[in-house]
Structure formats: structure tokens, C-alpha cells
């Protein structure tokens, strides 16, 4: 014979235990806990819901809005290009997420001038759809601020942002210094070993470069979208990136360990390489036909979708975000074969079920330990995989 109050206590106890159990199951879910165990993977940042939260929340409890890329600074800090929040975010050593650059969508400061020295405070500058971030040999952080048609430079020592050309979308400035350069949706950036900054100038259908002396020039592309030039000089070749009034972010570039330049040639559904020693451009992956085929076979016979990020892995392979195929693939450049790394529509090690589904991943990155990070853009989260 139990009294009502006893029954209530039992109920409370059961509820409490259930809650603890649920908390343990959710909070301690192996899916969200990152470990270094080979083959493991986890949701590393983001909640899976698009949005923006205040600074200082743990990174798995803080939202992104369609993040597009991630990069690790020389000190190991993770920087996230939070595309549709129009912000550059940074992960603190304690795992919390903060906004590093920007305060809302726009272009530049409301007052003052980001075109002249010393620049503008990082939180007083507005960005419009940044797409890429890279770290210069000079200690500065370089941003492709795609929808502002600008390349911007952030000095972490002063906290100031300076704009490097780009007063409006246009093709201009070749042969001049970067102050005079104009870009048209600069999508991707990377530094060469000699300190050259390469810029994928999307709607200009070109790859530009800013030499260490500050001179701007075109190194790939005629300016007209198309596919041509393999086996010839890169500046005579055609590339093909999304264009029109409001294009989608298209293409990517990366400098390889061999010093050559690799280009995700978006709407040509190919990956191309500029061999600087021979001054030749060539295709290394993709038949040119959009599709999803060829894993385990020569990359030249494979079908790709529009590829939007390239990164060299610790194993020397060239990894890429095969965005519209919702997967990450890699090419072994010594054998020329292509392989699946993370099939965001199918089975694989690590995260299971819906947790491993990708929705148009636009970015990938590796940290110093060699973990692969997948920016699962339209799920507004970042995954981490241990090979």
C-alpha cells in the first residue's frame, strides 16, 4: 500500500533517472564526441540548424549559417568562414566559438576607409559572403570576400582589416599593384611557396596572382568561360565558373606540395593542374561530363559534380569536396586513381545513418594532426573524421 506521495516520489525518481539516462545518451553520444580512434568521426561544430548565436558558446552548441570553409592558422587555431552569417568565426582553445571579423552583411566600415592604412577594426568591417581564408607568410590572414569582390587582409597583431583592391566588380589591374586590382567574385585563395598569392577570380573566369612585390597578373584563363587549352600555356586556356547576375560560389584552387597549382574547374567538372616548370595546364580528373562515377579507377575517367574545395591531405592525396555529389573524394596523384573518402549519401565508417549524410559540402580542411574536417554547408555543421 503506497501513499500518493510515495507514488509521486517514485515517479520523480523514475523521471530523474530517465532524464539522466537521456542526458547521458545524448550528451555522451559517440556521434558527437570527437576521438582520435582510427575510423572515428564526429560532429565537430555547429548544431545542424542554421543561425547565429552569441559569442562564447561551446562550438557544438553554437550555430553557423551555411558555413563554407574552415582553415587552421599557424598556431593551430580553427577559423570558420561562416558564409551566410557574413562573418569570420574562430574557435578558442577552450572550444568556444567567437566572431573574429565582421558584424553584419555589407561592404566595409560605415565610417572610415578600409582602402588605406592602417585599416579598420575587425569588428567594424562588414563582409558580404566571404568564401575563403588563408594565412600569409607575413603573419596576416587573407580573405576572399566573394560578394564584395574584394581580397581583404587582416592583421591579427593589430586587429585591423585592410582591403587589397576590388573597388567594384570588374576585370582590371593586371600589371599594376594590388591597390588597382579589381576582381569579380574572388572565390578562393592560396599562397605559393614563394609568397605569391593566387586568387580564383570566378566571374572573370581567370586565376590571378599577386606577386610578392605586389604586382597583379593573370596566370590562367582568357576571361571567356569555356574549356580549352590542355597541353598548352595556362594563360591561353579557358576555365568555366558559374556566372550570371548572382552566381553560386564556384571552383577552388590549391597549391600542391609540388609547388604546382591545382584548380577545381567548376562547370567543366574537372580538376586541372598548372605545371609551372613546363608552363602547361592539363586535366588530372574528370571527363568533363557531370556525374558521379569512377571510384577506384583512373581519375581522368571519373565523373565529378561541380567541385568547390581542394586540399592536400597528410597522405599526399588531393582531397576535394564533390559538392553536388554530397561527398568527399580523393585522388592519389602517384597512381592517378580516385577514391571515395566520405560518401554523404551512403554507408561508411564513423557517423551512421542520417548523421553521416552530407548536404552540399563546400569546404574541407586538415589540421596539424591530420584529421579531416568536412564543412557540411547546407547542414550548417562541421564534421571531423580520423583516418
Amino acid at each position: 500500500m503506497r501513499s500518493a506521495s510515495m507514488r509521486k516520489s517514485w515517479l520523480a525518481l523514475v523521471t530523474l533517472l530517465l532524464s539522466i539516462g537521456l542526458l547521458a545518451a545524448c550528451g555522451g553520444d559517440s556521434a558527437t564526441k570527437c576521438s582520435d580512434e582510427p575510423g572515428s568521426s564526429c560532429v565537430w561544430a555547429g548544431t545542424g540548424v542554421a543561425g547565429l548565436d552569441e559569442d562564447g558558446l561551446p562550438k557544438t552548441e553554437s550555430r553557423f549559417y551555411w558555413p563554407i570553409d574552415l582553415a587552421f592558422g599557424p598556431d593551430g587555431t580553427a577559423w570558420v568562414v561562416d558564409w551566410n552569417n557574413n562573418l569570420i568565426r574562430r574557435v578558442n582553445p577552450d572550444g568556444t566559438l567567437v566572431t573574429e571579423i565582421g558584424f553584419f552583411a555589407g561592404d566595409g566600415p560605415l565610417e572610415g576607409d578600409d582602402f588605406s592604412e592602417p585599416g579598420i577594426d575587425r569588428r567594424l568591417i562588414q563582409l558580404n559572403h566571404p568564401t575563403d581564408i588563408t594565412f600569409g607568410p607575413d603573419g596576416n590572414v587573407y580573405l576572399a570576400v566573394w560578394h564584395n569582390h574584394k581580397v581583404r587582409r587582416f592583421d591579427p597583431r593589430t586587429g585591423l582589416v585592410r582591403t587589397m583592391g576590388g573597388r567594384g566588380p570588374e576585370f582590371a589591374g593586371d600589371g599594376e599593384t594590388w591597390n588597382e586590382a579589381r576582381f569579380d567574385f574572388p572565390k578562393s585563395l592560396d599562397f605559393g611557396r614563394d609568397g605569391t598569392l593566387y586568387v580564383l577570380d570566378q566571374r572573370n573566369q581567370r586565376v590571378r596572382k599577386i606577386s610578392p612585390d605586389g604586382t597583379v597578373s593573370t596566370i590562367v584563363g582568357t576571361g571567356e568561360a569555356g574549356f580549352s587549352g590542355d597541353g598548352g600555356a595556362p594563360e591561353l586556356a579557358q576555365l568555366n565558373f558559374d556566372t550570371g547576375g548572382n552566381p553560386a560560389p564556384s571552383g577552388s584552387l590549391a597549391v600542391g606540395p609540388d609547388g604546382n597549382l591545382y584548380i577545381a574547374d567548376g562547370l567543366n567538372y574537372r580538376i586541372r593542374r598548372v605545371d609551372f616548370a613546363r608552363n602547361v595546364i592539363e586535366t588530372i580528373a574528370g571527363t568533363g561530363e557531370r556525374g558521379f562515377a569512377g571510384d577506384g579507377k583512373p581519375a581522368l575517367q571519373a565523373q565529378l559534380s561541380s567541385v568547390t574545395d581542394l586540399e592536400f591531405g597528410p597522405d599526399g592525396r588531393l582531397y576535394f569536396a564533390d559538392t553536388q555529389n554530397h561527398c568527399i573524394r580523393a585522388i592519389d596523384l602517384t597512381t592517378g586513381t580516385i577514391a571515395m573518402v566520405w560518401d554523404g549519401k551512403g554507408e561508411g565508417p564513423g557517423l551512421q545513418g542520417r548523421q553521416r549524410f552530407l548536404n552540399r559540402p563546400l569546404g574541407i580542411a586538415f589540421d596539424k594532426e591530420g584529421h579531416l574536417y568536412i564543412v557540411d554547408t547546407f547542414n550548417s555543421r562541421i564534421l571531423r573524421a580520423t583516418s
Binding site: A105, G106, N246
Partner: protein, 416 residues
């Protein structure tokens, strides 16, 4: 004494309450049911946080991303333009939000089911003769239409290229450049604020597009020779003019034909949707001449005048003639059945009204101060943050897209 708005409007000598409650001509219908006392302001959607809310959760628990306007259909349904989430959402009868157009992406199309079709920064919704939703897809440079019974979306004007071509031809072959606002007249001709082209264009019921107001002049303007139409465009300029340059934003032409007038809407990288438009029952068109800090009117004879704003940027003039007052980048206008003009005085962070007597007042917000406060109280003591859109409901309630507060707010009407 409980309703400050009533006192104010009575002071203005307007039968605002009765008029607003009984007459309906403008685009809006009835308000949705929200627990809000007459004459007070409240939040009807948004949490204040940027986010992309899931479907079918209460509107006031749904994160928004720069909501830019609301619109009410002929049958009284309330729609929200969740601008930077690139989608259009419906307030359901139980106060939840449901997406009716826009996919989980930003982009353009394809035509077909509206909830699988990407759109890019929609700015304005109106309804056509058949009750279909017509909206300006600002960043797509297109006008799109959704048949709400089938849920199918199609493009009806603009090629998607941001340029100025096509006058005199079919609207679907014409280039627009940031169509921000749209309005139908009583004969169902469609008017488009073609923002970056600095013109208002008109699509007649045969689908032919023409220029209705404003001029697109490019490059340095001269007086010693007439401007010529630049080859392959509908832009005008002089010999050395570059047709790829933006049309000049300037001010001019009051008292003359609207086709000769000049207007000033935002262009360039930081441009935000500008130039909200509305039409009164007589067919006079009112629009926000945003960077000119004026509200202008085009009467049925095609003559343009300024009805509010002296051109000076700032806040001033309440209690005096609207044409001597200062506005700061107004973005939207609405006209009440009694002829009262409501103005989203965006960068003053307030909503102002101009009565039939031409006197300007503030009806919501503290002009010159931004913030978020005041729900449940006097709307003129509440704070807003850059309200871009306003919509007047049948019962006199004013919906305010409190854009940078990531909320939609409402000044409850005084309907008895």
C-alpha cells in the same frame, strides 16, 4: 486615454479609427490573431536572433534573418518575407510559420514546386486578379509568381541578368536590375521599382514592359547635347558613356512628367532593397525615393511631386508640413483608406504618417534612436532597428518588419 494613437489621430482631425476599420483598398486585409491590446505594439514573429527556423513552429519562437516586409492576401492570410533566409513564409491560423516559397538554398529556380525552388532575397509580395502571389525576387532580378492552389512557381518578368534592356518588348525577355517593389493598378498593370536602373517600369496586361517613371542616365551628364540610347540597352548617355556603368541616382523633375523625373535609389555593393511603392484607390502611385530622403507621388496624369521630405537627411519636422520634414532613407510607404500615408522611415528607426492635411507625425518608434523595447506599450515609446517594410491591415493594425531586430512587430489597430 489608453490609446495614444487614437489621441494622436484625433488631434490630427482624422477619423482614423473608423476609416481604418471599415474601409479597405490597399494591399492588406485582416490581421492575424495576436494577443495584443489595441493601440499597443507587440512582436508577432521572430526571437531577435538570426536563424533559419524549422517549419511549423510558433512565429514568435521562429528565428528570422532580416525580415523585410509582410503582406496580406485578399483572403486575409499574412505572409512574411524572410529576406536573408531567401524564403516566403505564411502565418498559419494557429500562429505558426510555414514556408510557401524558397528551398534550402539561395539561387534561382527551377520553375516548378515553389518550396523546391531557390530564390534570392525576395522583397515584396502582392496578389494578382486570380489571387496568385506575385513577388519581386530582388537579387534574382526577376518577378516570380506562385499559384497558391497548386504551389507552383514560375518566372514572369526579367531574364535574371542585371541590366537594363527590353522596353517595348515582352517582360520576360527584359533585363531588370534589382526590382525591389511592385504594385498593381486597378486594371492589373504591374509597376516595378527597378532600383538600380533608377526607373519605375510598367508591364501591361499584354506582358509588354515600358518605362513609366525616372530615367537611366549613365556617365557624366551634359547639357550641350541630348543623351542618346546606348546601343543594346535602354540606358541613356553621351558618346563616352560606358553602358556597363550604373545609372546615375539623383533628384529632379517635381511638377513635371514622371518620365522626365530623376530618382535616387541605392546601388552598388552595399545596396539594400529600396524604393517601396504603393497605390491609392484613385490610382496615384507613391514611392520611397530612398536616398533622396523623400516620398514622391505620381498622379494619374503622370505628374510627379514630393509629398514628404525636404531632401535633408535626418529627423525633423514632426507636427509641421511633411514636405518640410526630414527623413532618413525611407524604404516603404503604405496608404490608408482615408488617405493617410505611412512611411517606414528606416534609418530613423521609426514609422511616420502624413495625414490628409499634409502634417507629419511619428506613429511608431522613437525617431533617431534604435534598439528593441516597448512591447506591450505605447508604440511611440518603443524602439525599432531599421524597419524596412510596413503593411496596413484591414482593422488598422500596422505590421512593421523590424528588420535588424529580426522580428515582425505590430501596432494593434483600435477597431472597436
Amino acid at each position: 486615454m489608453r490609446f495614444p494613437m487614437t489621441r494622436k489621430w484625433q488631434r490630427m482631425g482624422l477619423l482614423a479609427v473608423a476609416a481604418l476599420a471599415t474601409l479597405l483598398v490597399a494591399a492588406c486585409g485582416e490581421s492575424s490573431s495576436v494577443d495584443c491590446d489595441p493601440g499597443t505594439v507587440c512582436t508577432v514573429a521572430g526571437t531577435g536572433k538570426v536563424g533559419r527556423a524549422a517549419e511549423d513552429i510558433p512565429a514568435i519562437e521562429s528565428d528570422l534573418y532580416l525580415p523585410i516586409d509582410v503582406s496580406i492576401s485578399p483572403e486575409g492570410k499574412l505572409y512574411l518575407l524572410d529576406w536573408s533566409n531567401h524564403r516566403i513564409r505564411l502565418f498559419t491560423p494557429n500562429g505558426r510559420l510555414e514556408t510557401v516559397a524558397g528551398s534550402n538554398a539561395v539561387g534561382d529556380g527551377p520553375e516548378g514546386p515553389a518550396i523546391e525552388s531557390a530564390i534570392n532575397h525576395p522583397t515584396r509580395i502582392i496578389f494578382d486578379q486570380q489571387g496568385r502571389m506575385v513577388f519581386s525576387a530582388w537579387h534574382n532580378s526577376k518577378i516570380k509568381r506562385v499559384d497558391l492552389t497548386t504551389g507552383m512557381l514560375e518566372d514572369i518578368a526579367g531574364t535574371g541578368t542585371r541590366f537594363y534592356t527590353g522596353d517595348g518588348g515582352p517582360a520576360d525577355k527584359a533585363d531588370l536590375d534589382l526590382p525591389a517593389a511592385i504594385v498593381f493598378d486597378k486594371d492589373w498593370n504591374l509597376y516595378i521599382m527597378d532600383q538600380a536602373n533608377q526607373v519605375i517600369r510598367k508591364i501591361d496586361t499584354n506582358g509588354v514592359i515600358t518605362r513609366f517613371a525616372g530615367q537611366c542616365l549613365v556617365g557624366e551628364e551634359r547639357t550641350d547635347a541630348p543623351a542618346m540610347m546606348l546601343p543594346g540597352t535602354n540606358k541613356f548617355g553621351w558618346v563616352e558613356a560606358d553602358k556597363n556603368k550604373a545609372c546615375n541616382a539623383t533628384y529632379g523633375g517635381d511638377g513635371g512628367p514622371a518620365l522626365q523625373a530623376r530618382i535616387g535609389q541605392q546601388v552598388g555593393q552595399s545596396a539594400q532593397p529600396a524604393g517601396g511603392m504603393t497605390i491609392d484607390p484613385q490610382g496615384n502611385i507613391y514611392f520611397a525615393d530612398t536616398i533622396n530622403n523623400r516620398i514622391r507621388k505620381i498622379d494619374t496624369n503622370g505628374i510627379i511631386t514630393t509629398v514628404a521630405g525636404n531632401g535633408g537627411r535626418g529627423f525633423g519636422g514632426d507636427g509641421g508640413p511633411a514636405t518640410s520634414a526630414q527623413l532618413y532613407w525611407p524604404h516603404d510607404v503604405e496608404i490608408a483608406p482615408d488617405g493617410t500615408l505611412l512611411i517606414a522611415d528606416t534609418y530613423n528607426n521609426c514609422v511616420r504618417s502624413v495625414g490628409a492635411d499634409g502634417i507629419i507625425h511619428t506613429v511608431a518608434g522613437v525617431c533617431g534612436s534604435s534598439g528593441f523595447s516597448g512591447d506591450g506599450g505605447d508604440p511611440t515609446k518603443a524602439l525599432f532597428d531599421r524597419p524596412y517594410g510596413i503593411c496596413l491591415a484591414k482593422d488598422g493594425s500596422i505590421y512593421i518588419a523590424d528588420t535588424y531586430n529580426q522580428r515582425v512587430r505590430m501596432v494593434m489597430g483600435n477597431k472597436a
